[in-house]
Amino acid sequence: MISFQPTEEETSFIKVAKDFAKNRIRPAARTCEKQRAVDQKLGDEAAELGFLSLELPEDWEGLELPLLTQVQLMQALSYGDLDIIQGLQGAGDAASFFRLLRDNPVFKDKMVDLTSGATTVLIDLENNDELSENQLSLRHDHDGYILQGLSQPVRMASFADYALVAGKDSQGKNVIIWLDDSADWMVHQGDYRLGLVASGLGRFSFENVKVPLTHVLVEGTAADDILREARNRIRLLQAAKETGLMEAALDSATEYTAERKAFGREIAAFQGVSFRVASMAIETRIANHLVLEAAVKADNREPSAERLSLRALHRAHRSLRYVTDSAVQLLGGHGFVRDFPVEKWMRDAQAQVMLYGRENDLLVRSGEQLITGEEEVSVT
């Protein structure tokens, strides 16, 4: 039966997350940005509350929640500050791979400690454009792989204990490898000013690093399936975070324009203002719903999950840019200075959409699947 009602369990967990977002995360945002890292204590609290292990498997001490529940929690948390959420150390985007590869012998043999503070960085070669020089490449070598080149900027690079590299090798075969020796790489800290400054952005460089087969988690068609599913999950978790930021910007702009006066009345009384707030509200709601629907499909492992995750992330990107820009615009000059959070949110938003896939590309890929695949508009 069509319903938009979270379960009671979800509702109470979401409340915890939203309170944490408002009372702990939001107030720490500027400081963490200045320090270019999330406050350790804040990270510990988040871990304590379980927010860093939502995606991890139960037998790895994770909560292993359905994606539907996780997206609602991620949205609530990101209402506080996206930068902080993206800078929380731990399994990060790699968590989805851990979930899907929990029984992989590589992990069994190595018994790496992933649940108490160690940080794993996901380097997805999909985000390598095959455009730039010296881009990171993975070459098959007779008994393993060779990693060579410079990755795109990724989150948490500055804090990396482990790295998970996933994507196509030079022959076009998918492979997922596990790196647990930080001597294998160098991290270029670079010059990041736009946004998500506390999230440890950086690029990995590898100089002909030999990866033995004992570090290969999976390759070939088996890797295809894992990669597809993990990417679907990551897209949705990221889109949910974006929705949380949208909500924050919407509320902030609503509040400001309800109080600020000009020409003798609250500026909300001008349709030039209030209609834009209404459009922001619509876009936020749409992004929310598209994420929820895709999460249900992903939980059910339906074939449409991939297309729906592309669709949800595309819309989240687009709406996020619109909503955060609108919030700055509605605050006028006050939107451009650091006295209010909206200027930071607009910067974080732009950094976020740059990190997680080109808007246009996500759209076209979802569209291609419509033409080559199923027929009906999928909402059922």
């Binding site: 039966m1 069509i2 319903s3 938009f4 009602q5 979270p6 379960t7 539907l68 609503t254 509040e255 309800a258 109080e259 609250e266 909300a268 009384a269 349709q271 209030s274 209609f275 707030v277 209404a278 459009s279 509200a281 619509i282 709601r285 749409i286 719903h289 598209l290 929820l292 629907e293 249900v296 669709r311 595309h314 819309r315 246009n360 759209l363 076209v364 890929r365 979802s366 569209g367 291609e368 419509l370 033409i371 080559t372 027929e375 009906e376 508009v377 999928s378 909402v379 059922t380």
Partner: protein
Amino acid sequence: MISFELSDQQQQIKEMTHWFAENEIRPIAMEADKQEKVPDDWLDKVNKMGIHLNTSSFSGGGDKDSSGKKAKKEREGNRMGVLATEEMAWGDPAVTLSLPGAGLGGPPVESSGTPEQKERFLSIFKNDEPRWGAYALTEPDAGSDASAIRTTATKVDGGYILNGQKIFITNGACASWVVVFATVDASLGRSGQRAFVVEKGATGFSCSRLAEKMGLRANETAELVFEDCFVPQENLLGGEALYETSGSKPSGFQVAMKTFDSTRPIVAAMAIGIARAAYEYTLDIVKHDYPKQGDFFRMASELLGECEQDIAAARLLTWEAAWKADLGLANAKEAAMCKAHAGKTGLDICAKCLELLGPTGLDGHLVEKLYRDVKVFDIFEGTNEIQHLVIARRQYAPHGIRV
């Protein structure tokens, strides 16, 4: 639990209405547009099948499903209504709007009529011959501003005398009765408004003209005139009691407004059905005739990707509004959101499909008709601007200001 799966009943009505739309409505869509009329024998046939348009909760197949069921069962009439309406409009919106039934006149009678009035006006939709109800609010000088209506209702012995003019009335000329909004005293503003059911053939009630339109040509849009038109007391919707209960609060204006929260999702569902029809028609051509690589393929992927995304977005917003209504929750904001989004993107989607079809699309293709049809869905039942106002009003309400 959040879910987007249809219940058995929902699935059933979706399938049934889709079957009807595909096999009965779509085949006559282009010809009805050309003739600017839905054929009488077709109307007679579907009326005998028991197919009616009821915008409060859709009833297909002749059975009433929203009343008298066993207690505790979750109401789902609004969700069924939007599901069914999307399918029907997918067949053709002008034909759908011309289906026999109470139409937009249904909700005010259902929500505000006395039991006697409900029985008297809603029981006439029988299989013997097609009949319609209609809803007359808009006037030449009162469009979006429903509080500005000038049609007067003067109390006389045994009833009221109406004088005034109404425009853009769907099925207004063929209707057996029309819910007409009028004011007993313009100086009272909204609280002076009353809703009347004016029956066909009433003295002083006539149709002065049928409008020629950009689209929805097969559907009748009438201009109605009331010249010293007597309406008996028992046709005052809700009876005098309704307007006396609590001073200024309930009024004809409230009757008019409260129906929007249930009709806007229905109107949104129609726009979605139209957009989906254009999208599927175009997707089909792209799939079968066009190359699967190269520039055109990429353009088609981009445009169709956007179309499908906006259809899904509009549909989810519409479902949410209907779900809230079924649960008895306030849904004015959601109803306005779905209407605003579906109305606007409906046109965008049809335009994108026409771009893909190219010049060929000008010559006898369904999509150009849908393009002409869909525009008004961003206008009637509250323009896009009015929807934005409603959303903004709800958005600012917690801050204690009224915009």
